[in-house]
């Protein structure tokens, strides 16, 4: 039967326009049956009800459409889901970070050369997590990493500061006050245990009882299996940091290890309750069918009853996935150690963290005590600067703001910006890259040359140690495309100096004008303004000099290269005739190079006429 065509309009959206359309429709098609559609009539009532239904549906259509956009969504759960989809982590109140000075009284010891220093055998290590200090407002701060008072640098010099406290009757040093700074995080660290019954429950969930969990320190079961936190259960490897004992340990504190993580979990924070739930995988370690570690050979497609097969699509992640997505614990007890708490009141002012709540001290095995309690009791703490970083829980507005930027995040390196972002965001424990530059490798079209540089203890540029390069290599390898090659190379440091002569206004003090000119040049020559492969602009130097008050004209200007040793100062070994590498006002270095004014106080020489 042919469909009956009716003149319908779909333009009406609100009550008034829908009612007008319905009225027009009724008058057109039902005028013989009913004529009165005025508001007081029953016909008008029926029109109103139909228009009301249409208006309500239209409203919810608009409402649902708005809920699809995080910027216009109103319902909290929808905004939270948008945030999760975009990769924004839902967190509760954030803890504050405080740089706390731990000090204690340590007996003196005479060295072989006759001088005295704090006895390293009497200087303990404060153990992380079990050392807690309290601010005057009651907020707890927990030591983040072990603090060894006896730690020395590559030259065997104590990293701790110390000062003579008391002398013996003979006038020899008796005790020293020793102090070291350490990072402490606010919040309480607790251990919570959950008994797991003997039933295999895929993707088992456990909800931690305290809100605002800022860090899950460890998750272990009674068999001492350690469960690692991953971003998603398909991730089956984690990075593990290993203490670096090489001579370059000052620069690179830890080395990377990539290790399989069959015992793993993801965490999810409820936006409303701020309670954290951890979820395990679906695998049963006792079942033979479940591969804890994937075997790629098992991915081959069976060709049952067929002699041909077509092209098929495949998810490359399938090669690293297992069917289990990690082990789901059963018939065990899960112990979760975590830190919780945070907020603005955790940003305590300076000198308010003065109480030691509890401390876990470990003395060297070689220690010979006469009165260890006196050392322990002498421990005192203070914070020289205020704690910072404490923040209230995210609001809906915060989530909306973060969604936009989070959409640009990705876990692969595709562009040069991706690569640089990855390098600069590598945790500092594995070494810090202060400058990185990229160039295409002219010999290999698929390769990129990555020039990196680190800083020494005096914040001067230096070559990155090999351990840092190894860590960087392992780190980048997890994110790079398989066909990409990245050559990690040392950057070239070009140390330079500036020599200038200016004519100073007769009414001005020549020395003062030159000093001001040098000061201005120092400011524009700071390392923060320079990147690898960035040329040195002569016009910037000239502009800085002639705009210095009192300078009438610039007589001469020379940018010179300093290399090797010079007046007791040690420069980069790279030598470059800077004046010959000037092109249209730019001093251009070789590929992968960076200009550094290393000793600003001596490398700028100015004269006034």
């Amino acid at each position: 039967m042919a469909k009956k065509l009716v003149n319908k309009s779909y333009l009406a959206k609100d009550f008034i326009s829908l009612r007008a359309d319905l009225l027009n429709y009724a008058k057109t098609y039902f005028s013989e049956q009913i004529q009165d559609f005025s508001e007081p009539s029953m016909g008008g009532l029926l029109l109103d009800m139909a228009a009301y239904v249409g208006d309500t549906m239209s409203f919810y259509l608009d409402y649902q459409f708005k809920e699809l956009n995080p910027n216009t969504a109103i319902e909290v759960n929808n905004v939270v889901n948008h945030a999760k989809n975009a990769g924004v982590p839902i967190v509760g109140a954030s803890p504050a970070v405080a740089n706390i000075t731990f000090s204690m009284e340590v007996p003196a010891k005479q060295k072989e050369n006759g001088s005295y220093e704090p006895n390293p055998e009497m200087m303990p290590t404060l153990k992380a997590l079990n050392t807690v200090v309290i601010a005057s407002n009651g907020v707890s701060f927990t030591l983040d990493e072990d603090l060894n008072f006896a730690e020395v640098n590559d030259d065997g010099i104590l990293l701790a500061k110390y000062a003579l406290l008391t002398n013996t009757n003979t006038g020899a040093p008796a005790t020293y006050i020793v102090e070291r700074d350490a990072r402490c995080l606010s919040g309480k660290t607790v251990r919570e245990t959950f008994n797991i019954d003997n039933v295999a429950v895929p993707f088992r969930k456990i909800t931690i009882s305290n809100p605002d969990v800022s860090n899950i320190v460890s998750v272990t079961d009674t068999e001492n299996n350690e469960y690692y936190e991953v971003e998603s259960l398909t991730q089956n490897v984690v990075y593990k940091r290993i203490k670096n004992f090489d001579p370059n340990k000052d620069t690179v504190g830890y080395n990377f290890e990539i290790m399989p993580a069959p015992f793993r979990f993801v965490k999810d924070v409820n936006f409303n309750t701020r309670l954290t739930t951890i979820q395990f995988g679906s695998g049963d370690s006792t079942a033979l069918d479940d591969d804890v570690l994937p075997d790629p050979s098992e991915l081959a497609l069976p060709l049952y009853g067929k002699k041909v097969f077509t092209r098929f699509s495949i998810d490359p992640n399938a090669l690293i996935k297992t069917k289990t997505l990690g082990i789901s614990p059963k018939n065990t007890s899960i112990a979760i150690q975590y830190r919780y708490g945070g907020g603005l009141n955790h940003n305590v002012p300076a000198s308010t963290i003065t109480t030691v709540d509890k401390v876990n001290i470990q003395f060297p095995q070689a220690a010979t005590f006469t009165n260890p309690a006196s050392i322990i009791n002498s421990l005192s703490v203070t914070n020289k600067v205020e704690a910072a970083g404490g923040a209230p829980p995210l609001t809906i507005a915060d989530l909306r703001t973060q969604i936009g930027s989070a959409r640009n995040q990705q876990s692969r390196i595709v562009t040069q910006q991706d690569l640089l972002s990855r390098i600069y965001t590598m945790p500092n424990n594995f070494g810090r890259v202060v400058r990185a530059g990229l160039r295409k490798d002219e010999r290999n079209p698929l390769a990129t040359q990555l020039f990196i540089l680190s800083q020494d203890i005096n914040s001067k540029l230096t070559f990155a140690p090999d351990a840092l390069k190894m860590n960087l290599s392992k780190y980048l390898n997890e994110f790079r495309l398989i066909s990409d090659a990245i050559d990690i190379l040392d950057g070239i440091i070009i140390n330079y100096g500036i020599e200038f002569t200016v004519i100073v206004h007769p009414n001005s003090n020549k020395s003062l004008v030159v000093a001001n000119a040098i000061s201005n040049l120092k400011n524009i020559s700071k390392l923060k303004y320079f990147q690898i492969d960035q040329p040195l602009v002569e016009s910037d130097i000239i502009n800085t000099l002639i705009t210095t008050p009192g300078v009438l004209s610039l007589v001469s200007l020379a940018v010179v290269n300093y290399s090797g040793g010079r007046g007791g100062r040690i420069y980069s070994d790279y030598s470059l005739d800077i004046s010959k590498n000037k092109f249209k006002g730019f001093y251009i270095g070789p590929p992968g190079s960076i200009f550094e004014l290393k000793y600003a106080n001596t490398d700028i020489v100015g004269n006034a006429e």
């Binding site: 009550f15 009612r19 013989e32 049956q33 009913i34 004529q35 009165d36 005025s38 508001e39 007081p40 009539s41 029953m42 016909g43 009532l45 109103d48 009800m49 228009a51 009301y52 208006d55």
Partner: protein, 171 residues
Amino acid sequence: MATYERKDYNYRVYDFKSVGQSAEAYRQSNRLLSTDIVKRPIGIKTPIALSYGNSGLLEMHFELPNQIRDNFRNLLMTNHGERIGLYDYGANLKSLAFELGQSDFDEMAIIRIKSAVSKYMPFITLDTFEPFNKKEETSQELACVGVKVQYGVPSARMINQQIEVIIWAAG
């Protein structure tokens, strides 16, 4: 129907003067004209009831005064918020029932009726307002008050129409 063919073009031309009616159509039109005026239904009668006559599915009004009276009664008996989509529809007299016995009851009722009529039935001319008590229906727990309104609809040549509504109230 007279047609002729033009020689220079290959199609026909019709003359409207020769267009008439078919025999059946002529009979139908004559039959309709010969009967009395057919009254078409105006609106649905309230309370709604199924029709067993010739008005279709529901009982309908066929006379304009009846339809207006029905609508006016519904207007008087409806309170604000009861009509979906039109919050202020109705005379909203029920809330006055709780103020029964107060001196300004009459004044308030008149104002509300006039306001509702001027907005939703402006063609009605209100003449008189007369409150009354139906003592035989008034119990100790539940009181009621009656409102008698005399009105007219000049455009429909209706005069001296009268309508009564009873408002029940808590005692």
